[in-house]
């Protein structure tokens, strides 16, 4: 299972990188969102998968899944959302102000940066 997820993580990172290298601002944002999915899965895989019950003491199981990566990911999901939302609004406003979301045109002016 870990091997499979590692490959999936790789695919997610590949897709994210490709999207981030493109010109369109929206695709770049989608890229960052996919990148965070990949990172979350990576953290979870590092801790080992399916090694016991859900980390709830009420389960009274003999072993539990590693709770620490889950706590880290929970934080990361929320932060990623904040960043994505911020990016989106930034892109939206940039589009409104500048009339383009093509990164090749958003280079800053010579002597004005």
């Amino acid at each position: 299972m870990e091997i499979l997820i590692s490959v999936i993580v790789g695919i997610l990172f590949m897709s994210a990188t490709y999207l981030m290298l493109s010109k369109s601002l929206l695709r770049i944002i989608i890229g960052t969102a996919i990148l965070s999915h990949g990172a979350h899965l990576l953290i979870l895989t590092m801790g080992g998968l399916k090694r016991g019950a859900a980390p709830l003491l009420g389960e009274s199981a003999s072993s539990y899944s590693d709770p620490l990566p889950q706590a880290l990911i929970l934080t990361a999901i929320v932060i990623a959302f904040g960043v994505t939302a911020f990016f989106l609004v930034l892109a939206y406003r940039a589009y409104q102000e500048l009339g383009t979301d093509n990164m090749d045109k958003l280079r800053g002016n010579e002597g004005n940066d």
Binding site: M1, S6, V9, L21, K50, G82, A85
Partner: protein
């Protein structure tokens, strides 16, 4: 920490107080607060004369960076004390002079005196340190305080240019010297100058000996403005005249000479030392005096004259090194060159200091330093004229002034080169006396130009900005003291012979159990030196009188300031190339920057992974896969790959949502209920947000084409591969035990919660969560600001 250390750092301490004094007592010239310190230091150093005149030394030391073997060792010996007396003595006179030179209502006196004090302290540190690293630290300090002083009138373009030039050249030399220091450390294992000198015999044949020697010489030559590094000194004349008198004639430029003298016991036995120092010195002497004749600015003449005189002292030190190879001959026979070097060093400080002050007075009282506009000032400024005559005649080597004595001694040293038969001196050595004599003729000519073009001839009041009159008495005190010294040393040279010169010589060429004894005679009989002097005077007068006729010689020279050309074009060339290069890779495209970042990421991670043997693949400890999981994995993979190629924005948003929800499902499978819940909520909101933005973005019909890009594909496949390999290795390597067990065991006992993830977030790592909330709040504020505030450009849109 001893009194000696306190003396060295006292200028730095006073520099802290100067701005306060300046603010509190605006009515009093700040110089008066500074003046007592150099006087105090001078009298303090005088007290060491009793020790050094026995050719002994005192060392006081305290640990500075013991881990690196660096002690702040302060050593007073004949050489160090001579310089310390020059620094504090000339320093006192210069501060006094500056009080009258700089107007307290017009100038930024606080910064001026802070810089000056920084310099004074740094210079004392250079000449009194016995540790090379400490010496180097102070050495660079002199470079940048000199930079600040040259650029003191920073609103002038030329000041900034001169400051930058001196900084670049002297700091370049300083770095080279640092290299030499490190090489010496590699050979000897110590930074202490005394210890290095004690063990210098053993390193003589070391393979690093010659590189170290060259490094030190570059440091000394740049600092002391030796050819071809002399170009910074004339431009440094943009500094206020008191600074020129202090730094650029008497003290800082002599730091290079000090370094050569100080390191002589280490390097002097090598033939390169003799040839390079004597060769560059004599070239500088000739070139400096030759160039001085064509200058029209008083300070420019003095600058080139300083260059040439420094070359003269340098060449004497080089020739003096030959004495180490002759032990049988009478000791003072070949060491006379070193004696002359030390003697002339003192003399040069006296006459050149007074001449700079005279030039400053002329500038101050007439408003110009151009000798073509000046003339006939003798009647208006009789005292200044007298001072100028004393200074220039001494510089030209005329009796009865001190310059005559050291110039004679200089000739003696150079003539005796003819009798040396080592290092091929018997073949090319004759060039030394010849060049020395020719240079002396030019020295004579520019000395005469300096005094007669300024003070005699036709008075041209219409050319001057101010009506000339004699300087105030305060401004005259300092040059009068220096000029008196010129005469006193000229008549009674032996008062300094065994108090200052012999001790310094003992430090330059220490011989076990030998006490140097110097006697300077006014009259040697009809020696070759005397005839050389007479020849200089005769030919000098002749050429001075006929100067307008042969002045055109200078026009035939290949591009008059070729070295400056080289410096300027080199500097702008470097800037140009750097600019081009930066423009080439910083082209403003985010995509390019990301390409650099990702490429770097791939290369570093891959190389670490394989060079360090960190890659490991171990499939034994894996959990089982069920069919449903394979299906989910395929969904993610297909979604992620398709999203790369779809053109429509709407489709990519939907695919993003699909990937996100599948990840949430994976969380369910991986026994992470909290994650799954959060992910579902967040994913829903995210997709809604994306769609909202998508809806609001106008002109969606204008979807650009997305041609497949091979570079992008290669880079993204590389990133994916690296991450997969890292994930494999992370799974297969278990370097440490997990700390998770602690949380599992203590969740209930310490935090009384049963949901471990929640307890970790709000309890064990509560601060993390708090800051996470802060981040969200900041993002929310940012979003609110962007949407609601519409700063600047927003109005433009409304107007449309």
């Amino acid at each position: 920490m001893s009194l000696l250390h306190l003396a060295i750092i006292s200028p730095f301490l006073l520099a802290i107080l100067v701005p306060i004094a300046y603010k509190l007592f605006r009515q009093i010239h700040t110089g008066w607060f500074v003046l007592p310190l150099p006087i105090l230091l001078f009298s303090y150093f005088i007290s060491y004369l009793s020790i050094t005149s026995d050719q002994q030394s005192v060392t006081k030391s305290f640990s500075w960076i013991p881990a690196l073997g660096i002690d702040f060792a302060a050593k007073v010996d004949g050489l160090g004390l001579l310089f310390a007396l020059l620094i504090s003595g000339i320093g006192s006179l210069v501060v006094l002079y500056s009080i009258y030179y700089l107007d307290k209502n017009k100038e930024q006196l606080n910064t001026f005196y802070v810089y000056l004090l920084l310099f004074m302290g740094a210079m004392l540190g250079v000449v009194l340190s016995d540790n090379l690293i400490v010496l180097y630290t102070f050495w660079e300090f002199t470079s940048f305080s000199s930079f600040l002083l040259i650029g003191y009138w920073y609103h002038r373009e030329k000041s900034r240019y001169g400051a930058q030039k001196s900084m670049i050249i002297t700091v370049f030399g300083g770095l080279s010297m640092l290299g030499g220091i490190i090489l010496l450390y590699l050979m000897t294992g110590t930074f202490s100058i005394s210890e290095i000198i004690a063990g210098s015999d053993e390193i003589f044949s070391h393979s690093l000996f010659v590189p170290a020697l060259l490094c030190f010489l570059i440091g000394a030559f740049t600092k002391s403005a030796q050819f071809p590094f002399h170009i910074w000194l004339p431009d440094a004349m943009e500094a206020p005249t008191p600074v020129s008198a202090y730094l650029h004639s008497a003290t800082m430029v002599k730091a290079g000479i000090y370094l050569v003298a100080r390191m002589s016991p280490v390097f002097a036995e090598h033939s390169l030392w003799l040839w390079l120092i004597a060769g560059f010195g004599i070239t500088t002497l000739f070139w400096g005096s030759f160039s001085a004749v064509k200058q029209t600015d008083l300070k420019a003449i003095l600058a080139f004259s300083t260059v040439s005189q420094l070359g003269m002292i340098m060449s004497l030190l080089g020739i003096g090194a030959a004495a180490l190879h002759f032990e049988t001959v009478d000791d003072s026979y070949f060491t006379v060159a070193t004696t002359a070097a030390v003697f002339h060093l003192i003399n040069h400080a006296t006459f050149k200091g007074s001449l700079f002050m005279v030039a400053g007075i002329v500038d101050h009282e007439t408003g110009t330093r151009d000798i073509r506009k000046l003339g006939g000032l003798m009647n208006f400024m009789p005292i200044t004229f007298t001072l100028a005559v004393i200074g220039t005649f001494s510089m030209a080597g005329l009796p009865p002034f001190n310059g005559f004595l050291s110039k004679e001694m200089f000739f003696t040293g150079m003539v005796r080169v003819l009798e040396m038969d080592i290092f091929n001196l018997d073949t090319w050595g004759f060039l030394f006396p010849v060049l020395a004599w020719v240079a002396s003729v030019f020295t004579f000519i520019y000395s005469m130009i300096l005094v007669f073009k300024t003070f005699t001839g036709k008075f041209q009041p219409e050319q001057l900005e101010k009506k000339p009159h004699e300087a105030p008495i305060g401004m005259l005190i300092s040059p009068i003291i220096l000029a008196s010294l010129v005469i006193i040393i000229g008549f009674f040279p032996n008062i300094i012979a065994n108090t200052l010169i012999s001790p310094a010589q003992a430090a330059i060429m220490p011989v076990e159990g030998y006490v140097y004894d110097t006697h300077i005679y006014f009259w040697h009989g009809f020696t070759p030196e005397l005839f050389m002097t007479l020849g200089v005077i005769t030919l000098g007068i002749l050429l001075f009188v006929t100067l307008p006729k042969w002045r055109r010689v200078y026009d035939f020279l290949p591009e008059k300031l070729a070295l400056n050309r080289f410096y300027d074009s080199g500097l702008s060339g470097i800037q140009h190339v750097a600019h081009k290069f930066t423009k080439w890779y910083m082209n403003g495209s985010i995509r390019n920057y990301l390409v650099y970042i990702f490429t770097f990421f791939i290369i570093t991670l891959l190389s670490v992974l394989f060079l360090k043997g960190a890659f490991k693949f171990d499939a034994s400890n894996v959990s089982a896969i069920r069919f449903s999981e394979i299906v989910l994995a395929l969904v993610i993979a297909i979604g992620a790959i398709t999203i790369m190629f779809v053109k429509s924005r709407l489709t990519s948003i939907i695919l993003l949502g699909a990937v996100g929800y599948t990840v949430a499902l994976f969380f369910v499978l991986f026994r992470a209920p909290d994650l799954a819940l959060t992910q579902l909520v967040i994913e829903t909101i995210s997709v809604a947000l994306f769609l909202l933005c998508f809806y609001h973005l106008p002109q969606i019909k204008d979807e650009e084409r997305m041609p497949f890009k091979a570079t992008n594909a290669v880079i993204s496949i590389g990133v994916g591969l690296v991450i997969t390999l890292i994930a494999f290795s992370a799974h297969s390597n278990k370097l440490f035990d997990s700390i998770s067990q602690y949380y599992i065991d203590n969740t209930y006992e310490k935090a009384a919660g049963k949901n471990m993830v929640n307890v970790i977030l709000v309890d064990f790592r509560g601060f993390d969560t708090m800051f996470e909330i802060t981040v969200l709040a900041i993002a929310a504020l940012g979003i609110f600001g962007m949407i609601k505030l519409r700063l600047g450009g927003g109005k433009k849109n409304e107007n449309k």
